[in-house]
């Protein structure tokens, strides 16, 4: 074995360096650094308006989220200037919190678009309890839980290397939460250990999702910066006890 062949676990899949992002002329992220290695799942905590969603959107490359400084490196490639579809094609997938409805486009066809190749659609839809929704327009009249399941079905079909999830548990009832948790576990290959290749970056407000999906690292965002990185369970406990304010103060 040559020295060059590193353990895959040490490979960096996503690296965000000193990222500054503007939305409509206002800077929201003031220099974010983040590194996700092979097979890792990270969670993002933080109060409303702290920039969590902006970070995810910037990683996906939506034009409204303008990078003014810093770099996003994915699998060794600088993708800072790439359009979203090229990032998707390279293996980044995102779950939308409030996806738009596309009239006349059936969920069935949407899932096929995501897959870009052959998939066992009926088995996947069965698993996500969405068989009856396949012929409906994507997101049209879907409830909160149905939207989450539909988003996850699309992501399962896309099978990205890095999954970006924005509050996957919000608006989901207990019954659906199990299903959502199971789908995320599957996306992130949580039932594997050594051969796990998928990465995740999950925004969670409540932390409920941690009951279903184990995370390796947690980050607390405040005012456009990551102020604390560490054990996600401990962070969550701290936040629950003392609130974000205290949590932010501890770093000062």
């Amino acid at each position: 074995m040559s020295e060059r062949e590193e353990e895959p676990r040490d490979q960096v899949v996503l690296e965000v360096r000193d990222l500054h992002v503007e939305v409509e002329g206002r800077e929201i992220l003031h220099g974010v650094d983040l590194m996700i290695k092979f097979g890792e799942t990270h969670v993002l905590f933080g109060p409303n308006g702290s920039g969590k969603t902006t970070l995810l959107m910037a990683i996906m490359g939506f034009p409204r989220y303008r990078v003014t400084r810093g770099r996003i490196i994915f699998a060794g490639e600088d993708i800072t200037g790439l359009e979203p579809h090229l990032r998707a094609q390279r293996g980044i997938g995102i779950m939308f919190q409030r996806p738009p409805t596309i009239r006349g486009l059936a969920l069935r066809d949407m899932v096929r678009l995501c897959a870009g190749g052959e998939i066992d659609l009926s088995a996947m839809a069965e698993e996500m309890n969405l068989v009856d929704f396949l012929d409906r327009d994507v997101n049209y009249g879907f409830s909160g839980g149905e939207i989450k399941r539909s988003e996850l079905l699309q992501l399962l079909a896309q099978d990205p290397r890095l999954v970006l999830l924005d509050e996957p548990e919000s608006g989901v009832d207990m019954e659906n939460l199990q299903l959502v948790g199971r789908a995320i576990r599957k996306l992130l290959q949580k039932d594997r250990r050594r051969t796990r290749t998928k990465c995740g970056l999950i925004i969670t407000h409540t932390g409920y999702i941690l009951d279903y999906v184990e995370a390796d690292t947690g980050h607390v965002m405040c005012d456009g910066r990551i102020v604390c990185s560490g054990n996600p369970r401990e962070q969550l406990e701290g936040i629950r006890k003392f609130g974000f304010e205290e949590c932010a103060r501890c770093t000062r």
Binding site: H85, P99, P100, I102, R103, G104, L113, G116
Partner: protein, 428 residues
Amino acid sequence: MEGRLRQGESHQERGERMASPEDRIRELKERAMRAAGKPAPYGPDIDLSQYSCTPQECAYAEELSDIRDVDPEELARSGVDITGKGRSGSFVQLDNTIVHRKALEKGVEILGTTEALRKYDWAWEYFWNVVQVDADKYTADVELNGYEGYFIRALPGSRTVYPLQACLYIRSPRLVQRVHNIIIAEENSELHIITGCASDHRVDMALHLGISEFYVKRNAKITFTMIHNWVPGMDVRPRSGAVVEEGGVFLSNYIVMEPVRSLQLYPTARLVGEGAVARFNSVLVARPGVEMDVGSRVVLSAPRCSAEVVSRAITLGGSIVARGHLRGEAEKVKAHLECRGLILEEGGGMLAIPELEATVPNVDMSHEAAVGKIAQEEIEYLMARGLSEEEATATIVRGFLNVRIEGLPPVLEREIQKMMEISQRSAL
């Protein structure tokens, strides 16, 4: 409306109630003459004197495959399956001559309109009832200068599985194609018709005048799908009307994506029997230079009738007026109107005019209209799934035009889907 067969009335009884055919014909001619200069309320006015063509005679063909005076591919382009497979019958008219008509299933009859007038002494009673002869100069012109067209009738209780196909084709420049169609679904029958209208690419200018009168009797059903594939020099003035009796269903789908110079129509369905249903779907695409004024109107004049009018319009630089009018005249009617327009290119424009009208209190009527460009967030949603901006736009446009038509037999639905895809590929 006095010429219409009343519920439970025999043709003979009506004959006695009515004036004699000779009186009726004389009256129609007089009314037509008085209306010969009457412009239509909508659409650019057309000078009928600029058309000078004497149509060429075309040979009648016993079989579809024997039609000689038009390229089979052209027929296929207008939606005709020249093998006749999966069809319960066919009708083809070139210019003003019928070159083929044949029913392949029992229970359904296809004749030429003048042939029907000769064959049945009651047939004339179905002419100019739901479309008025003096509506405008175009209806008047059809009556005064003679017409052909199809007379399609589903016998009582008959249900054809496959659709009938009809093609109206223009091959001579400077022609006025005058068509008068009569479509009758007798009680408890079901009838599906696909009509393709097209013209030869060499036709630099021509006018299509098409009268269609639909009669949906008690508990009968007609689905009518019309696809227009004209050329940029064509002016088109269809004049259609339907009357739907108790428990009857009338579904009309109108698709026009190819260029035309001007197109104006505003068909009306009258729901006269309890629980009658009408649905109009229109799919319009206007390229630069195209002027379209397309509406659908439903008059709900019996209790518990329902209606739906849906239009999807895209301008690529042409101008579109999308109209819709619902009029509730009876208790417990339910009706919805939806006009949606997408402006993909500037240069033309879009005007949506939805109108609701009610004369009694207990009605449930609504409308929604939206005109604009494709929402950026929809494009980004698809881009995040790996589609380029162009692919995402095309996917959204396809979806926008994908009006799902309820109540069609699956065979027909597939067929229409196929035709839509062909039209879209060439239009967008």
